[in-house]
Amino acid sequence: MDALLAKADSLSSASKKRRRPTQATSNSASTSDLTYQSLVKQTSLPKSLRPTKTIENVPTHNHIANKKLRNKLARTSTHAAQSKALLEDAELLLTSEAGKMEVEGEMEKTWRVGQSEIVESTGQEAALGRKEWKLDGGPYKSRHTRNGRHLAIIGRDGHAATFDWLTGQLHAELQLQETCRDITFLHDQSHFAVAQRKYVFIYDRDGVELHCLKAHIEPTCLEFLPYHWLLATIGNAGYLKYQDTSTGQLLVEHRTKLGACTTMTQNTHNAVIHLGHQNGCVTLWTPNLPHPAVQLLAHLGPVTSVAVDPSQAGRYMATAGRDSTVKVWDCRNWKGAVREWSARGGSADLDWSQRGFLASASGGTVNVYSTSSIHSASTTKAPPPLYITHPVPHRPLTSVRFTPFQDILTIGHAAGLSSILVPGAGEPNFDSSEADPFENKKTRREREVKALLDKIQPDMIALDPEFVGSLALPSKLVTDTTSTPFARLPRIQRLKVSGKADETEEVESEVEGDHGKKESREEREKRKMRGKGKSLKRYLRKQRKNVIDPTVVAIRAKLEKQKEEKRRAAAGQTENDKPSALDRFKRKS
């Protein structure tokens, strides 16, 4: 028996609290604990698991009373901070380099370099991105899949086509023979939706009509939220409608009350829909709010284009209006635009590239501005320094779209489409798990299934996408008795702590004793007893509840008033106070 105990004692300390060798106490523990000492010589953490740096500002969660939970949370946040620090090392994995264009000397400007020069100086493969498509049927609009490989185009007069632009393989070509206003791919190239004259239609890859969405009447713009599988449309009636494309259900329709709307975009980082309206307002919508999450008067005329910056996690928004100005807004602080300038040639169309280049097509030119200059605040209304400019002779220019993962900008105009090269616009390193331009058929299928499994519920859309999984704020209810948890306090104390208790009664009694001179003890007791039995007071005493009741409050006020009057009467002020018709003739001194 004793032998057993003796053996057990050498294994760990016999005290009730098990002590773990933490970093802070390791020195003191190592001297006493023989087992630990014998172990520590033989063991070591692999180099990859050792913390490289000491990480600061890790939240400690000290407000959480539960020790186990607190430790667990602290461990999790330390781990998160460590892995965040390790992300820097992961940059080694990024092999491709972004495109760039640099000039030597002060006098040289990048915008002086024309497309022909760029094409000439780049390789054969990259030069494929510079193209001109001459097409009939009105101004064209274009849209890419998320991996940038496939392109859908739509002409005003109903010419729709989808194709793989890299290989030039045409998937579908349709002559719809009615006005078409917008086109978008759904989750990938296998389906696309077209906003036609009356309804939204969904076609498959080969151009076979699959669905006619009759709930979406006279649509003008389409947006697909890929992680939520929602097709958002807005039309001439001004109703924003969300259709779930995985279940086919019309999820919700919001009445904007701002009339016909021709401008819509999505923030890809929080799936909020941005609408630009005829009265100059920009509104931000989520499916779970019947009113806009943000409403902003952005322009003094109709808003013609809205774009959100994907490079800064949706922090900046650019708007263009018929008042021929372009404004850049900070989505965290709506107090005025960060920067604004006037676009030559009237209303502009905007798009933001993956690496933060802003393209604006206005009049007969397309201007591209580089990242750093757009975000910096400026009070002057001068445009930011130009990066590239490109004239297009076919007015109007209806759409500009950057190709994801490519340095290409596709411009839709009256005579078809043209694509130009913008060095540095595209993200050089794609992630195969998100969007892969080189995916094969099997990967596409697998991704489709996985994306359906990972479909996020539409209720989760909010302005701040990071609220998911974040910790609740520490409670503001502070109990003075720290030992007793809030839930175990008696009701009156709970009400007191939460500030809902009716404490007027007690205060009153305290005040009562206060006024006047110091009384002797007998007098005080006498006063206390007197008037206690009066009917109103008796009523009040009986009505004393834990919550504030309007009738009781009214009676209390009445009593207070009576008391005040009595006091005044005692002081002989009653006559003076009473207003008289003759008061007006009194001399004002």
């Binding site: 004692d9 100086s121 990259a126 994907p310 340095d407 540095g424 998911v468």
Partner: protein, 460 residues
Amino acid sequence: MVVSDYGAHADTILIFQQKISVLQHAPSEHLPSRPGDPTPVSRNLNPIMHPFARSRERIRALNAAKMERMFAKPFVDSLEGHVDAIETLVKKPGDLSTVASGSWDGGLIVHNISQRSQLLNIPQAHKGKVSGLCFASDRLLSCGVDRTVKLWSTDKSEGQKPLSVFAGKSAFNSIDHHRSDGLFATASNLVQIWDETKSSPISDLTFPTSTETITAVRFNLSESSVLASIGSDRTFTLYDIRTGKAERRVIMQMRSNSLAWSPTFPTILLLASEDHNLYTFDIRHVSTPTQIYKSHVSAVMSCDWSPTGTELVSGGWDRTVRIWHEGRGTAPEVYHTKRMQRVSSVLFTNDARFVLSGSDDGNVRIWKAKASEKLGVITARERAAIEYRESLKQRWQMDKQVNKIMRTRQLPKPVYSAAKLKRTMVEAERVKDERRRKHSRAGETKPKAARKKVVVVEQT
């Protein structure tokens, strides 16, 4: 001249190439080099490239939790053969598949659980119930209320006769074999140590003032001369066969029904108590239990450790089998079926993958220790997916929805209502206690921790 002209021209081209570069992806890097090769993947860990990463991970965790519940089919098989309720179950040390069971009609069966076959079936091993079983290397020892201990060979060819019979003075309740020596201990109104080669006990162990019936006895697995017993006087007692006397006795509030030594931590003892709880005691500090396991709604009849010491299983009068994590006193896994009656004995198999339960309906049931575990061959990819789901659940267990799915167990109505009633009673008791305290003089009565209430007195 001509030569220098050429040189200048080449220079300008070189400068231009440095100045302007346009992004291009080499298809050779991103496409498989030969048909049939896996497509190369590229990674970019920049968080901006992964929008809604957190939300999607949460959805995945939710799906993982749902899948766990969907695949939770713990029942594997039931082993029939007994005509009456099963009293005792025992596994063979060092063998993954051999298990013996004894029943109230005096029958004794040795099962092979991997083949679901009977190695030995003795219908009338004892008159009255078989109260205890244990393996002695290759042979089997059984004791009964007919005051005998019998030694059996597990070989079928030896016939239905015991190898030897040890006669005692009173009915036996339990038996356990020494880890290494040829000794075994029996429990009747006292603990007796027997030698396999001798027909009478070599020593009697009893606490001096004891008049109780000993209901179970177990040898310590590490310090094999130490043994523990539980008795009908709400006690548990520690003995040492070298000194030949009882070292310590503890009287508790309620009596225990079963005990088990921890296989990995030699000083930890697990007791299944009549008061619906299980207790682990560190025998160095027997004044308070180290952990209380609360969830059963009726008396716990039997308990066992997993061979890793990280889990424990208990079966109770409430017709459920519960699997606990060591050190976590609530929210165990609950197993039940419509036909399973009072569980009188439970067992963890030696590979920690299965749990056996013997119940009043005469069946030995085989359950998976992890309800949603897949039996059979698991490919590496599947294994990786399972591990990923496991870590997701771990990470998101604080989430309200995920936690609810993971926590909720559908219980039989009687168990559910009994649990509800029990909660009400415990809460009422707490409230009454609080009120009593409030109306007594300040500081006169202090709330007592549940752990401090368990032990009545500790005797040496």
